[in-house]
Every structure is written in structure tokens, then in C-alpha cells.
């Protein structure tokens, strides 16, 4: 088997674990962590293609992952701030009970 395929299989497993967690858990922090794992799986794919693929530019994969890491940091900060705001209104962070948009 190609080493590229092995790397893609690893990231596919990581993505599936993240998706399962985001769908199965009812705690919003755990859902956010599942989404973070899915983002990490996408980054693994970028690096795998950069390392083993026929790449035209030597820096493209690394630059892509750096921007993606910045987006992931912004997403984590905003998501956890939303969790704290929801907790302040509802006094708990279960997703099922955060169904009102009006504060």
C-alpha cells in the first residue's frame, strides 16, 4: 500500500471519530472538540498530500496548514465564548435545552 494511502486512512479514521462524537454527545463542549478533531483530520490530509503527492510547489501544503490552524484557533475561541454565553442564560450547556434564540 502507498504511504499516502496509509496517511489518508489515518485522517479518515480521525474524521470519523470526530463526526461520531459531534453527533453522539449532548454536551456542547464535547461537540466543539469533535469539530476540532475533524479540522485536525483535514490538516493531516494537507500534510500527507504535501509530503507524498506530486507537488508542484514545495511550500504549498505547509502554508495551507498554517492558515487552517489560524482559522481553527478563531473557531475555538468563538465557539467556547458561545458556550459560556449559553451557560449564562440557561445555566447548563446541554444542546437539547439551548433551543431558544431569545436570551
Amino acid at each position: 500500500m502507498n504511504p499516502l494511502q496509509i496517511c489518508l486512512l489515518i485522517s479518515c479514521g480521525l474524521f470519523a471519530i470526530g463526526l461520531t462524537a459531534a453527533l453522539a454527545r449532548s454536551n456542547s463542549i464535547l461537540v466543539l472538540l469533535g469539530i476540532e478533531l475533524m479540522l485536525n483530520a483535514a490538516n493531516l490530509n494537507f500534510i500527507a498530500f504535501w509530503r507524498f503527492g506530486p507537488s508542484p510547489a514545495p511550500a504549498s501544503g505547509v502554508i495551507f496548514v498554517l492558515f487552517s490552524l489560524a482559522i481553527a484557533a478563531a473557531e475555538a475561541a468563538v465557539g467556547l465564548a458561545l458556550v459560556i454565553a449559553v451557560y449564562r442564560h440557561q445555566k447548563n450547556i446541554r444542546l437539547k435545552e439551548a433551543s431558544r434564540l431569545k436570551g
Binding site: 502507498n2 504511504p3 499516502l4 494511502q5 496509509i6 496517511c7 486512512l9 489515518i10 479518515c12 479514521g13 480521525l14 474524521f15 470519523a16 471519530i17 463526526l19 461520531t20 462524537a21 453527533l23 453522539a24 454527545r25 454536551n27 463542549i29 464535547l30 472538540l33 476540532e36 478533531l37 485536525n40 490538516n43 493531516l44 500534510i47 504535501w50 509530503r51 507524498f52 503527492g53 506530486p54 514545495p58 511550500a59 501544503g61 505547509v62 502554508i63 496548514v65 498554517l66 492558515f67 490552524l69 489560524a70 482559522i71 484557533a73 478563531a74 475561541a77 468563538v78 467556547l80 465564548a81 458556550v83 459560556i84 454565553a85 451557560y87 449564562r88 445555566k91 447548563n92 446541554r94
Partner: protein, 189 residues
Amino acid sequence: MLSLSLIAALILTSAAVALSLRNLIHSALVLIVTWLGVSAFYLWAGAEFVGFAQILLYVGAISMVVLFAVLLTRRSMDEARVQPSSLRRVIAAVLAGGALAGVLAGAVLSTRFLPGAGRPPEINVRQIGLQLMGPHAASLLLVGVLLTVALIGATVIASSFERDDVSSDPDPRARSRGRLPSNSGDSHV
């Protein structure tokens, strides 16, 4: 290849364990191991700068933010334990995740990839900096603007704008209990 399989086992098992634990603090701490495994994969693949950026960002910063969020959103010591989700939901989620993993693995295994270069592409920090400041300067500026807006927005969302009548109440739990019946409108019962 042995180190790759060790890294893969570390990433996948720690991710699965972290997201199935009951205690939120434990899962946040086990996820640090997952992120360390991902950065070990980057180092194995020859992307040193990305690996150390991953350690700084995830292991250093995001895990701390997650721990702060866990600690700020609970009322007593044992409330970090979350109640289990319903069995139907867990089964449906596992089926969806398994089906997606099957489809993706089938697509990966049945695709013929072009043979790549045997050696890792030569890249060092100087070249990354030149690339970021040269051809990707506009994207770098946009990412800076995005991070500024996101962090200011996160601060605004998470900061509290308490009303005067609420903040004069000394006990926060009494006021949350006292406000709920008046909202649901059953005070005349």
C-alpha cells in the same frame, strides 16, 4: 513505517477514548495526547514548523481555553461529569460515523495515486517566511483581520452585561431560580 503505525495508534485510540469519557476534564486532558500525536505526525512527515505550531497552538492554547470553559460552566465539583446521551442517538451516530469511514476508506483504497517524490520537499522557516510575506501577503493580512475580529467578538459574547435589578441580587442561584417561574408565566397558579 513502524513509527507511523505507532503514531496512528496513538492518535486514533486517544481520540476515541477522549470523546467517550464521562468526565469533561478527563476528555480535555486526553485530547492533549491526541494533539501531541498529530504534531508527531507532522514531525514525522518533515513539516517541523507546522508540528511546533500545532504544539504551541493546540497543546498550549486551545487545551487551556477548553479547560477554562469546562471550569467556568459548572456549578459544583462533580458536575464535570456529563449525563450519558440516549442509546438511540449513540447508535445512530456510530452508524453514521462508521458509514462515512467506510465510504472514505473505500474511496482512498480504490484510487490510484500518482507516485510522489521519495524525499520530503525541502522547506525551511526562511522559505516559509518568504512565501508568507511574498505571494501570500494578502491572505496573511486577511487572517490577521479575521483573528482580531474573532477574538474581539469572543470577548464581547462571553463578557456579561448584567441588568441592574439582577446584579443587585446577592445569590446568583437564587436569582436564576426566581426568574424562571416568572418567565414561564405560571406565577398566578
